[in-house]
Symmetry: C2
Subunit: 617 residues, 2 copies
Amino acid sequence: MASQIKRFLVGKPIATEQQHQERLTRTTALAVFSSDALSSVAYATEAILTVLILAGTHALGLALPIGGAIAALLAIVAFSYRQTIHAYPRGGGGYIVSRDNLGDTAGLVAAAALLIDYVLTVAVSISAGVAAITSLASTWGYPGLKHAAVEIALLCIALVTLANLRGVKESGAIFAVPTYAFVVSILGLITFALVKDMFYGATPVTHPVPPPVPEVGEALGLWLILRAFAAGCTALTGIEAISDGVQAFKPPEAKNAAATLTLMAALLISMFLGITWLAHLHQAVPNEITHETVVSQIARTVVGAGPAYFGIQVATALILVLAANTAFADFPRLASFLSRDRFMPRQFASRGDRLVFSNGILALGFFSALLVVIFQANEIAMLPLYAVGVFISFTLSQAGMVRRQLRMREPGWERGALISAVGTVLTAIVLVILAITKFTHGAWIVLTLIPVLVLVFQAIHQHYLRVAEQLSLSTAVKPPDLRRHTAIILVSGIHKGVLPALQYARSIAPDNVTAVYVNLDPDQTERLRVRWREWGCDVPLVVLESPFRSLLRPLRSYIAEVQSHYKDGMVTVILPEFVPARWWEHLLHNQTGWLIKTALMYQKGTVVTSVPYRLER
Amino acid sequence: MASQIKRFLVGKPIATEQQHQERLTRTTALAVFSSDALSSVAYATEAILTVLILAGTHALGLALPIGGAIAALLAIVAFSYRQTIHAYPRGGGGYIVSRDNLGDTAGLVAAAALLIDYVLTVAVSISAGVAAITSLASTWGYPGLKHAAVEIALLCIALVTLANLRGVKESGAIFAVPTYAFVVSILGLITFALVKDMFYGATPVTHPVPPPVPEVGEALGLWLILRAFAAGCTALTGIEAISDGVQAFKPPEAKNAAATLTLMAALLISMFLGITWLAHLHQAVPNEITHETVVSQIARTVVGAGPAYFGIQVATALILVLAANTAFADFPRLASFLSRDRFMPRQFASRGDRLVFSNGILALGFFSALLVVIFQANEIAMLPLYAVGVFISFTLSQAGMVRRQLRMREPGWERGALISAVGTVLTAIVLVILAITKFTHGAWIVLTLIPVLVLVFQAIHQHYLRVAEQLSLSTAVKPPDLRRHTAIILVSGIHKGVLPALQYARSIAPDNVTAVYVNLDPDQTERLRVRWREWGCDVPLVVLESPFRSLLRPLRSYIAEVQSHYKDGMVTVILPEFVPARWWEHLLHNQTGWLIKTALMYQKGTVVTSVPYRLER
């Protein structure tokens, strides 16, 4: 039954030979790889304003210079990543570049940071997408929908998880429509607004319920400005995606990828700055009470609450869901790399029925759903945890590139090393700013979790090394024939289910079979003795005493006694086990067999075998 | 490690032969069996007032006649149960009497009702005990303690569960102190108050925060009076306890038990009527805001907030905890009867390390904790669910007695049958009143749950009957020697862990061993073939193709092929399995072995055996 449900949800298995990789043109590649980066336009400006408003409305104007600084940073990082693309045409994610050039630990730190960030990408993007829809609903007279935000977000995560378990092809068409719709609608909104404002002046945003503004705000000092800057740095998340997937481009891969990266950065910068500028012109303010997004405020003020507004909100929601979908490709892939290198459980490296890394997909779905529940689908509250991981990965990855260029000294390496070095220093500084300003707001969780994860990765690695060493055949000798093999049938009574076990025992150890019964009730024991004479097939019956009603203790000492007689012998403990016809009926029987197997797992020279007697009904 | 924690919490195992039953005098028996019944004095009056206040303060006077009616009912039921004691000197709980005289279904309905009621007894009594303590704390200036009521209640349940898992002896002394302290303090309070009021007049209760009284109340009609009566009927819970435990009395058992029952009923009636009378004189009103109990209001008004008041509150809390403890004896015992009669999983009939029915104790602890959380430790809110079950059991049990007396026609049967018949009719009427008036307030949950439980009991019973029939030796024939036994070693590679499996396979099926490998990657397969030539111990290697990366499908068809050659043969699938040295390391390996075992569980003529290779580190 479980198997049928799985078939229905996930679909039929796909044959290994059908695995192939679609090669993408620049246009489709932009759609496939940029949804994560571009979608941050939906919340980055709001994140800056949410911090600045703490000092009062007069501070909101600072969003413009802060946005400019972030745009400049973004341009430098993008430029630096073009180098990675050329150096790692087979794909150079943060883990690979860092491990390759800076060693295992750096690689693991980058990997831990990225895994955490992918989980956050899903939680933040889905929550922001739901916020776009609830803002739309609220404007159109359904303010109650925001109370169902958590449920809607969980449903979206479940659907995206399922779609990925089915193994949706990274088909350009599916991605192209929402991505380009988002780019067109946001750039259209910005152009239209700038033209309209030029002629008619900018009308301020009106709120159905006015946003609460602190009467005595925080002081507007360097600290608040740095915090606002740090909050806006979420705009940079996802910019590394293209460097991970160079292999997916049509040849010349590296050249096409680099060009696409440049185009993506240009689009992202114009959209981010445009929205920030419009938020300033129209005095948009984050509204804690209505939970209406800043983009929604701007859009309905500029184009009215009509179909154009509807289009913008839907496109925003769709690209955010796509951004989450990107993480569902990235997380399982990175987990499979770590698993292949024996830093994560090997289950993450095996492809499921549908050729996808199912375990990674399930893990990502589970942890992002957990985050959504904990943070009640409030993406702005999650942002302090976000971005820290990305910047750790940026810094390590670019530092790795500097190291590589210094080592390889390929033609023109001086210029490349310089660019990477500037990128490293800048992202490192931003990382420190992020870590300090966001520390108490949640970044501490990420900064504690990363070293813990690295330690876990290393413990797992040590384990796999130990196993490989112990299993190695280099010190092995071919086993001789067994000197003696004894079978012990553990019976709890005499019934039809015992007979096949007796037959089996006599077949595997013809001359050495004993039946063992643990005496829990003298009357029952006596009855068993009598019936055993008739049905025991001449197998001798040994009754063990158990004053404390334990099965295991007397059994263990009996096995030890048998083994003490014959060195290098083997004992098979045979459990007659009847298999019920229905799954729920398993619950109605003592799980004694399972307990005995677990308990004897570490007992030397012992094998435990259940001989099933299958009930028909 | 898990085993050490268990030893610390539960204690060392106790030998079977140490089981014995302490015989009780009337004095200690009263203490042991009456805590559940007597403790209802702590909340029954309040339950009546909580309903009457809905019609305004003028309705509160009706508590007196309603209390009188309940007291009369109580006397009749107690009188009727004296008959059960004489008829079932080995113990006659609702389940046994109903099943014995009215058939299986009636017995199961009574059992389901009682099991639900025991869970409610724990939840209600512990919550009421906590309320006594928080009322005390509030009077003495710590009103905040009531916010921790749920946590305190859960802690109490955990402690009582643990104490019962350890197997506290039903030692008279432990029970005698709080029970008699409660009886003395409540009777003392009543006497003192009546005398004092006669001389000085009764001072009304004052409230730190006045209780909210509805300005426009409900109409004071028959409906509200019936609801108030139904609410007060919780005073009858626990009255059947003595009839369950006749065996525990010193001989003559039945006579001593009947006398104790009469005494208990007399005490209960005087205490309940006394408190109801005092509540009327002192105008005590349930207070939703302070959550102070009515008994606490009366006590501090009469004796002042001094040490006497402290004593009353602590005695009340203690007897309520004891009442919960009674359910921890009743529930596991009833579950073990049901399990013995094959209506519940057999796990409920086995005694744990400490000679107690551990699974029943754990189940009761779990479900009562769940109720406390759902109802936020508010015992008054739980009362509508309570009592319905008790009255179902009363009615069935007494109807069973009528049937029995009509059948047996022992000397004086006419009088006995009459008493039982009057009891049956009265409790049946009250049951209908309870079911109707409390239906929407929660009784529907119980009334739905009972038939569901009965159906589950019956399904379980059918299962056990089917199993017994299929396992019966009456149609069995002694098995002949196995005609052919084939061993198949499933290998995933060649390493040290495979060698003991090869050795074992050759020992159990000397001439019929094959190694099977599923081809998932042609390169690896080729490498295996080469190494197998050196290490395979001359066992032939069969490579199976698997286009969908499934292990099971090719393995299954291979087994089917082998079996098609030899009818009546047996196939052992041997899995070389290495056992990690640390428990957490199990998580790091594919659970393939487990999957294969589960999948082949229903495959005829197949045994799956893991041959362990134990890693040292």
